[in-house]
Every structure is written in structure tokens, then in C-alpha cells.
């Protein structure tokens, strides 16, 4: 407390001041403990994962990352098929999901600003996509999306473009492709909501500057709005990626669960999160379990890296905008 402010108080005032100052510092300690707990949880997660994957780490060393065999009977465990599967499905999700999300964000922030009702109801609709639990995406993906894609997308692609390695193999519907499409739908609410906020933060003067040069609506969006918002949109994309990488249930239910590395999108695959969900409860033997936990550790670091990167970008963009606005 500043001394001079105390000096001007009467005795009783000082007493209540001290009492409330004590309450203040007590509460500060309490909320600081709560804040600390959050850090503690994250640290404890990293520590526990590391500790419990030690057997696997000491057996396979760093080659765990690029080992391609996952064989329970010989206790040979390598994570590459899962890293590959996570990479392929997330990439596919971004490829499909990002343009759609950007379209939605542009619609919400640039297209029909004056028609509030339309914007609001579409916005709510897309936000509700985020409220659907991932296991329901999985259920729907398994019984609705997968047969649909196999019949109307995968089979025609295979028939006409089967010579391209991407579309080789017999389409079964439970494969990288379906998992990627399902993930794309799942990241749309995240990516479009953040992108919309970013686009809304672009000052109108930028749009008007472009308009006054004789630009069409599209040129204003493409040449003034999107460039201004680019780092924020990049951040939104990375957060979408984070969601795709960490997603478990929906992917497990549609990806076919085969540890494979192949060029074909129509082949069954596996992801890091899916293999844990699928094999953990049935795993026996210390090495097997600890290998699965090490997969979790890999996932942890991937998520941490992606999140840090995204936060940095969004933070940087916000700071940049504050300077300019």
C-alpha cells in the first residue's frame, strides 16, 4: 500500500484498511493458487506422460518416432504410421475445411452485413456445429457419411482417376478420405468463427479505400480485407489444425484403424489419438502400455507446438491492429 494514502486516514479507517488489505492479500493468494494450478496441471501432464513412457523411450529411443512397425506380438513399436495418419487426415481437413470456413467467415462479415437476421441465423447454425459432440460426428460419419462418400465420391474418383496413386485401392469408405472430410466439417466452426472475428476487426477505411479506387466487392475482399487479416486467418487455420490433430473419437470411428503408410487416400489408416483410444484398454504388458503413453507424449508436443505457434500469430496480429487502428 502506498504510504501517503495511509497517512491521511484516521485510526479506525486504518484498522478497516488493514483488515481489508489482509482480506485482499489472502484472496490474492487464493486466486494465485488457482492460476498456479492451471500451470501445475499442464506440467504434471507432461511429467506423468514422460515418466510412464520411460520403458518405451529406453527401449526404442528416438527411433520410436520413425519406426514403421507396430506389432504387438513381437513387441515392436514405432509411431510413424500414426504420425503419418494424423498428418494426412489433418492436412485433408484443412484443404477441404479452410476454403469453406473462409467462405462462411466472408459471408458473415462481408456479404450481408445489413441483413442482420440472415447473418445471425447462419452464424448460430455454424456455431451449433461446434456444439455437436465428437462421438456424434463419429456415429454420423460411420453410418451416414462413410457410405455416402464411398458411393458418390470415392468410387467415381477411383473409376476415373484410379491410375493416380492417391485414388488407388478399393474404396471401402472407412479410410483417410472419410476421416479427412469428417474432420473438415468439425473444424469449420472453429476456423470460421475466429476468421469472422478477424475480418470484422479489419477497419472499414481499408475497404472504402479499395472501393474508392473502383474495385468490385470481390476485389475489395481479396485485395484489401484478406491481406490485412492474413496473419489472423493463418492463426485461425493453425487452431483448426490443432483441433484436427487432437480429435479422437470421430476419427477412430471412420478411419479403419490400420497402421499403414500408403499414398492411397482410400486405404484404412490410424492416427495418434485413435490408436490410444482403441488399444489402451486392451493393452497388456508394460512395454505396450508405455508405448501407447509415449504416443500420447508425441501428441502432447504436437499440440503444444501448434498452439504456441497459433497464439503467437494471433497475439502478433492483435498487437499490429492496435497500432494501426
Amino acid at each position: 500500500m502506498k504510504a501517503f494514502s495511509k497517512a491521511r486516514l484516521t485510526k479506525t479507517e486504518v484498522r478497516t484498511w488493514n483488515a481489508s488489505a489482509n482480506a485482499d492479500s489472502l484472496m490474492k493468494v487464493l486466486v494465485a493458487v488457482a492460476a498456479f494450478t492451471v500451470i501445475a496441471i499442464l506440467t504434471a501432464i507432461a511429467f506423468e506422460l514422460y515418466l510412464n513412457s520411460l520403458p518405451s523411450i529406453s527401449k526404442f529411443g528416438i527411433s520410436f518416432i520413425w519406426g514403421t512397425t507396430w506389432d504387438v506380438s513381437t513387441e515392436m513399436f514405432g509411431a510413424l504410421p500414426f504420425i503419418f495418419g494424423t498428418f494426412v487426415t489433418s492436412l485433408l481437413a484443412l484443404l477441404i475445411g479452410l476454403p469453406i470456413s473462409l467462405g462462411v467467415a466472408i459471408f458473415l462479415s462481408e456479404k450481408v452485413k445489413s441483413r442482420r437476421m440472415v447473418t445471425r441465423s447462419i452464424g448460430t447454425l455454424v456455431e451449433l456445429l461446434a456444439a455437436v459432440p465428437s462421438v456424434i460426428y463419429g456415429l454420423w460419419g460411420l453410418f451416414f457419411l462413410s457410405p455416402l462418400l464411398r458411393r458418390y465420391v470415392e468410387t467415381p474418383l477411383h473409376d476415373y482417376l484410379g491410375f493416380v496413386p492417391l485414388f488407388a485401392g478399393t474404396p471401402f469408405g472407412l479410410d483417410f478420405f472419410t476421416a479427412g472430410v469428417l474432420l473438415a466439417i468439425m473444424i469449420i466452426p472453429t476456423v470460421s468463427a475466429i476468421s469472422r472475428d478477424v475480418l470484422n476487426a479489419v477497419p472499414n477505411s481499408q475497404r472504402e479505400a479499395m472501393y474508392s479506387l473502383g474495385a468490385t466487392h470481390w476485389e475489395v475482399i481479396w485485395k484489401a480485407v484478406l491481406p490485412y487479416a492474413r496473419s489472423g486467418i493463418f492463426g485461425a487455420t493453425i487452431l483448426g489444425l490443432a483441433r484436427a490433430v487432437g480429435e479422437t473419437m470421430a476419427v477412430t470411428m471412420v478411419i479403419g484403424n490400420e497402421p499403414k503408410i500408403t499414398a492411397s487416400l482410400f486405404s484404412g489408416g490410424y492416427t495418434l489419438a485413435a490408436v490410444i483410444a482403441n488399444q489402451f484398454t486392451e493393452a497388456t504388458g508394460q512395454l505396450y502400455i508405455s508405448s501407447l503413453i509415449e504416443i500420447g507424449l508425441v501428441l502432447f508436443f504436437m499440440a503444444l507446438a501448434i498452439n504456441t505457434f497459433a497464439r503467437l500469430l494471433i497475439w502478433k496480429m492483435k498487437r499490429g491492429m492496435n497500432i494501426r487502428v
Binding site: 482480506a23 485482499d24 487464493l30 486466486v31 494465485a32 492460476a35 494450478t37 492451471v38 496441471i41 499442464l42 504434471a44 506423468e48 506422460l49 515418466l51 510412464n52 476454403p99 470456413s101 473462409l102 467462405g103 462462411v104 459471408f107 447454425l125 455454424v126 456455431e127 456445429l129 456444439a131 455437436v132 459432440p133 465428437s134 462421438v135 456424434i136 463419429g138 456415429l139 460411420l142 453410418f143 469449420i188 473502383g214 466487392h217 470481390w218 475482399i221 481479396w222 487452431l239 490433430v245 487432437g246 480429435e247 479422437t248 473419437m249 470411428m253 489419438a273 490410444i276 483410444a277 489402451f280 484398454t281 501407447l292 501428441l299 502432447f300 499440440a303 498452439n307 504456441t308 497464439r311
Partner: protein
């Protein structure tokens, strides 16, 4: 003197076409995103409605081949675990949120705030492994308690973030006015939380509850599964999301029907929570507008 090079100023057809094309693509994107949601809802309704009746909500499951049976234990498990998770996560989350908003400059705050962000987007599977190693391995069994702890870790970041945000909305002047009157910082915060920030706080808790109620992955490694009603917190328990997963990947079509029924219940719970949150926020927004 200006030499006007373009005597006949015009907008080229290709620019106009591009403008039109892009509008169409934007509408197509919105159409696709909306279609996805509508298809999910429609399918869940079509598949889930036929099986819904009161006994479905209350009864325990029966083995394959028997008729009847329900999802009573799973609803019970979800409610209990989410309830306990709230008891754990709300004090921690609210406390952390207050800290973020009141002491934003401190090192602890920025580090914790960052951890909070990371946790909020964290693969829930990893949280499942963590709770498995610290609770399931220690107690030697899957349990409703372990499940609750896992869900609480998922809830904390959501509660903390919304607490912080609802406190930050309160104008600085209001807070300074209160402090200038000699009200202690702590009382000021409490007053602010209880009045202006209350709605934001409840919203945050509801959102966190919704998120936790839909989680499946960590429960596989913590709560396990059971077809019976709960028999003590340190026993396995079923839950709605796990039931949906477990029944969906089974080979029996009667179980698939049950999975859809449970999905309909779960989705209904989610939407009710989310829509009420949305309505609360919307009216709050209008109120503050009106005040200005």
C-alpha cells in the same frame, strides 16, 4: 496536363464475372456448412426418434437379443461425473479467471494464461492418459471419480477464460469508482462478479458443462464402462458418449438403434445448453447497448 489514357472507362466483363463467381462460391460454402449440420440433425432425429420412450431413458441396458432396455445408467453416469467435475473445476477456473483479469501483468498470470489456452485446445485423449496414470493406476480400477477428474481438467480452461472475459467487460471506471470509495479490491471484484459479471460466469460454466458432457475419449481410460447403475464413486460407470461409441462400433443393429437414441438425447442436451447461453448473451448485449 494529364493525358487521360483511358478515354472510355469501363469495368471489364471478366472482373464482373469474377465478382459473381466469388459470390456464388461464398454462398456455396455457407450452403455446405449449413447442410452438414442439417444432415447430422436430420439423421439423428430420424434414427433416434423411433426408440425414444420413457423407459428408454430410465431402464438399464439388456443383453443383445432381449427387447427393451435403456440408457438409464449412462445418463446417471454422465450427470454424476459432470456434477462432480463442476465442483472441482468451478472454484479453480473462477479463481484463475479472476487472477488473469485482475493481475494481467504478472508473470504468473501470463504463464498460467498461456497454459490455460493450451489446455483448452488440448487433445482430450492426453488428459485421459494423465488421469489414468495418476488415479486409475493408483486405485487400481476405472472409476466415476477418475472420470470426473478428467472432465474437470477439460472444464477448467473454459471456466477460467469466460470468467476473465466477463470481468474484463466491466468498465474500468466502474471498478475505479468503487475502489476510490474505499471499497477493497477484493470486495470490488466480488461485487462485480456477482452483479455485472454474473451472467457471463454462468454462461461460461454452462458452456464448460456442455463440453464435458460430450467428451468421450478421456472416459475410455478413466471411467470405463458399466451396464449397471452406479454403485459408489470408485466403481466403473457408463456415460452417454461412451455408450454411443461402444454401441456404434458393435456389430448389432439393435445396439446401433440404441446408439442413435442416446445421440439424440445428448445432442438435445447440448443444444438446449448452447442456445440458452446464446440467448442469455444476446439479451445481455442488447441491455448494455441500451444503457449506452
Amino acid at each position: 496536363m494529364v493525358r487521360r489514357t483511358n478515354d472510355s472507362i469501363s469495368v471489364s466483363t471478366s472482373r464482373i464475372l469474377m465478382d459473381k463467381l466469388m459470390s456464388i462460391l461464398v454462398y456455396a460454402a455457407v450452403g455446405l456448412a449449413s447442410a452438414a449440420l442439417i444432415l447430422i440433425l436430420a439423421e439423428t432425429l430420424i434414427q433416434g426418434l423411433p426408440i425414444l420412450k420413457l423407459s428408454f431413458l430410465l431402464d438399464a441396458p439388456v443383453p443383445v437379443g432381449f427387447s427393451g432396455g435403456g440408457i438409464g445408467p449412462d445418463i446417471e453416469g454422465t450427470l454424476i461425473m459432470v456434477g462432480i467435475a463442476s465442483l472441482i473445476s468451478v472454484p479453480i477456473g473462477v479463481g484463475a479467471g479472476i487472477f488473469f483479469s485482475e493481475w494481467p501483468e504478472s508473470k504468473l498470470s501470463s504463464l498460467s494464461s498461456f497454459s490455460n489456452d493450451v489446455l483448452a485446445e488440448f487433445p482430450s485423449m492426453v488428459i485421459g492418459i494423465f488421469v489414468y496414470t495418476i488415479i486409475v493406476l493408483t486405485t487400481g480400477r476405472f472409476s466415476a471419480f477418475a472420470g470426473s477428474v478428467a472432465l474437470s481438467i477439460i472444464m477448467i480452461p473454459v471456466v477460467a477464460r469466460t470468467t476473465e472475459e466477463s470481468l474484463k467487460i466491466v468498465p474500468k471506471t466502474l471498478r475505479e469508482a468503487s475502489m476510490a470509495l474505499g471499497v477493497s479490491r477484493w470486495k470490488t471484484v466480488v461485487r462485480v462478479v456477482m452483479s455485472t459479471g454474473k451472467r457471463g460466469l454462468i454462461t461460461g460454466i454452462l458452456l464448460a458443462l456442455a463440453r464435458a458432457a460430450g467428451e468421450t475419449a478421456p472416459l475410455i481410460l478413466t471411467a470405463g464402462y458399466s451396464t449397471a447403475f452406479l454403485n459408489g464413486l470408485f466403481n466403473q460407470t457408463g456415460s452417454l458418449p461412451y455408450l454411443i461409441y461402444y454401441y456404434a462400433i458393435s456389430p448389432y443393429s439393435s445396439w446401433h438403434a440404441i446408439a442413435w437414441g442416446a445421440a439424440l438425447i445428448l445432442i438435445a442436451i447440448m443444444f438446449v445448453m448452447n442456445v440458452s447461453v446464446k440467448l442469455a448473451f444476446a439479451s445481455k448485449f442488447e441491455e448494455t447497448r441500451a444503457e449506452i
